[in-house]
């Protein structure tokens, strides 16, 4: 009851019709079993159903039924999820009116700035998210999710874009992206159907400046010409461009490819079906992403949205997210639920920067897109 009152006050400018008790933090006795703890927690988060629906547009793996179904049941909220194919896909959908029909999105560190700049996001009322402070300090401090003194994103997960390979077919263990131009693997490679592949080529060419991460996303025309020429050399070596994680894992499993650039989610899914997948961050480095939950400017069902955001920040929810995706999650408390082996894969975002360059939104994105299409087009 007190919680409900506090939320009513803290709700500020948002629709505060019958807010649920979110402002006070819910404490449960942790049992070490993520699913059981989630169930106990959700009973208190949603003492009675909130109702309504939430529309998500997120990366694959972010609405796995393992953690969404208990929320839907306990809070009486139906979650409708669409996957985004790329950061640009998300931004284009929101720009084309999607911010009025979609409530929550999970942009990476590139798209989030564009979404905030374009006025497509709503600032978060962190007083309605008492667990927000439990999330990794370095992740919360990322400038990409802030604008004008307001916070727009709730940290969720981060990770690299590693080189993934079939460890029985690719030996020795690759240490450089140069392996993509190695004749032994010609026609047995897959890269993403996205400008992210151009970043990788640029890193291989040494155009990524560790002192200036933004350079990679704003390359000069001369540098872009070099990238395009090298990408054209890669082209005949590619078997197929992937657009979903499912595409990539299927290419590995059907023996079409033996290596490629992808997401840790794929390595994780392949290992789950006993496929000998391995991943590595090559010497030239790679790009990485840090994903936040962002409320859209047109989000309607705010009580349900804030309940989801609060639930998403919990250590047991994040442990289930790590189980599904293999990503590094934002709540360090999730490690308490993990086996020592699983916990070793978790890092602090501040100690993670040496070899990776977190995606940013560059000013010449349109030009990158046209180059990528030209690489793909028939010659």
């Amino acid at each position: 009851m007190l919680g409900a009152l506090l939320a009513g006050c803290g709700g500020g400018g948002s629709h505060s019709n019958a807010p649920h008790g979110l402002a006070s933090k819910i404490a449960i006795t942790a049992t070490g079993d993520a699913r059981a703890d989630a169930a106990t927690y959700l009973k208190q988060l949603c003492p009675k159903p909130i109702g309504g629906e939430l529309n998500f547009m997120v990366w694959e793996g972010y609405t796995d039924s393992v953690f969404t179904a208990p929320f839907e049941r306990a809070c009486g909220v139906k979650i409708n999820a669409t996957y985004m194919g790329s950061s640009d896909d998300l931004v284009a959908k929101l720009r084309a009116g999607g911010s009025q029909t979609i409530d929550l999105v999970s942009p990476s560190s590139d798209a989030i700035t564009e979404i905030i700049q374009a006025g497509l996001a709503a600032a978060l009322d962190t007083t309605r998210l008492p667990s927000f402070g439990d999330l990794m300090a370095g992740f919360r401090a990322l400038p990409v999710a802030r604008s004008g003194g307001k916070t727009y994103g709730e940290p969720w997960a981060f990770g690299p874009n590693p080189l993934i390979y079939d460890s029985t077919k690719v030996t020795p263990r690759p240490v450089s992206w140069a392996v993509f131009w190695d004749d032994r693997y010609k026609g047995r490679i897959s890269v993403q159907d996205d400008i992210a592949t151009l970043y990788m080529v640029a890193q291989y060419l040494g155009l990524d400046d560790p002192k200036d991460p933004a350079k990679l996303y704003n390359l000069s025309d001369a540098d872009l010409d070099k990238v395009k020429a090298k990408a054209m050399e890669l082209r005949p070596r590619v078997r197929k461009y992937w657009s979903t994680a499912g595409d990539m894992t299927q290419l590995f499993q059907s023996g079409e490819i033996v290596l490629g650039e992808g997401w840790p989610l794929m390595t994780h899914q392949l290992r789950a079906v006993k496929f000998p997948a391995a991943e590595v961050i090559p010497n030239e480095g790679t790009t990485a992403w840090a994903d936040h939950w962002v409320l859209t400017s047109g989000a309607q069902n705010l009580d349900a949205a804030y309940a989801w955001l609060e639930y998403a920040a919990q250590p047991f929810t994040q442990k289930m997210l790590a189980d599904v995706t293999g990503y590094i999650v934002a709540n360090p408390g999730a490690r308490a639920y993990m086996t020592p082996e699983q916990a070793t894969g978790q890092h602090d975002i501040s100690e993670y920067g040496a070899h990776v360059n977190f995606w940013q939104w560059g000013s010449k994105r349109d030009k990158y897109q046209e180059i990528w299409n030209a690489v793909k087009a028939a010659q």
């Binding site: 896909d89 078997r239 197929k240 079409e256 030209a374 087009a377 028939a378 010659q379």
Partner: protein, 301 residues
């Protein structure tokens, strides 16, 4: 007398209001909007309502766009030829040779249309893959030693899948025309001592032309506008057809003006094609009941 006439006029007006509204609201207005959109300018990722021809200059000035349109036309042309080669003999046999269970056989040919496009595309992956059924068969027969990679994720795979998907569209109008040729014409030709071959060349083939043109137009226009086959079955040099480009401009780059310009060029090409097809048909048809014209079926892409 006058009241009856007025009444009839009102009825005609009301009856035509629905199709006219339909055409105006769902065809003419969207096309007009598309045309206007293609002249707007995109500035820093935001649409500004300033008129410019920049989109068309970029379209024709960057090899990417004309090259992709040409590549798509090349794929569509191959699909059209293969669809015609497959559809004509089948339609001929169905129309003239089959006596019993005609409808049943016709349905058997048309049935692939009832199966989801995506399912059919995935089926081709299973058949054509390196560990697929076809490679397995060829290897077990000792014809090849290592699996053929050209079968899948290639232009060949795209053409094959599109031919599979659009052959029924080619077959239907050809069958309709052949089936409607009065048997008397064939008999008359034979009475005049024309052999089967001459009958085919001088009677059946000219009469079938409207159906052939309609069927070919379907295959060409539909496959030229396809974007799923290149995405699912295309490889490093065959993943981008013109519709993928339009999709990328609208859905990824958020460059609606340029996307609209490419769409307008495609629409213009389609209209020219339909006009040419209409002319060819008009010359080929003999004005009888055996008509199946493109314009009877076709809606522009």
């Amino acid at each position: 007398m006058d009241r009856v006439r007025t009444n009839r006029r009102v009825k005609t007006l009301v009856a035509s209001a629905i199709p006219v509204t339909w055409v105006v609201v769902l065809l003419l207005v969207p096309y007009a909007l598309l045309l206007i959109q293609s002249f707007w300018r995109l500035r820093n990722g935001t649409l500004t309502h300033e008129l410019t021809t920049e989109n068309y200059r970029r379209l024709f000035g960057t090899s990417l766009y004309p090259a992709t349109i040409l590549y798509s036309a090349g794929v569509a042309l191959r699909v059209t030829v293969f669809s015609l080669l497959l559809a004509f003999p089948v339609a001929y046999v169905l129309a003239f040779k089959v006596r019993k269970h005609k409808t049943l056989l016709y349905m058997a040919v048309i049935i692939p249309l009832w199966v989801s496009y995506v399912v059919r595309a995935y089926a081709w992956k299973i058949i054509l893959g390196q560990q697929g059924i076809l490679n397995g068969l060829l290897m077990s027969m000792g014809i090849i030693r290592t699996p053929l990679t050209v079968l899948l994720y290639s232009t060949a795979a795209v053409v094959l899948a599109l031919t599979h998907i659009y052959t029924p569209f080619t077959l239907m109008p050809i069958y309709a025309v052949l089936d409607a040729i009065p048997p008397a014409l064939k008999e008359a030709s034979q009475d005049l001592y024309a052999n089967r071959w001459r009958t085919f060349i001088h009677v059946i083939l000219p009469l079938s032309l409207p159906g052939v043109v309609a069927g070919c137009t379907f295959a060409f226009v539909l496959s030229m506008g396809d974007f799923l086959a290149p995405q699912l079955l295309g490889g490093n040099d065959s993943a981008l057809m013109v519709s993928n480009l339009v999709w990328s401009l609208f859905g990824v780059a958020y460059n609606w003006p340029l996307g609209a310009a490419v769409s307008v060029v495609m629409l213009a090409l389609t209209l020219v094609l339909l006009w040419v097809a209409g002319r060819v048909e008009a010359r080929g048809s003999y004005g009888g009941e055996a008509r199946a014209s493109v314009t009877d079926y076709a809606a522009p892409v």
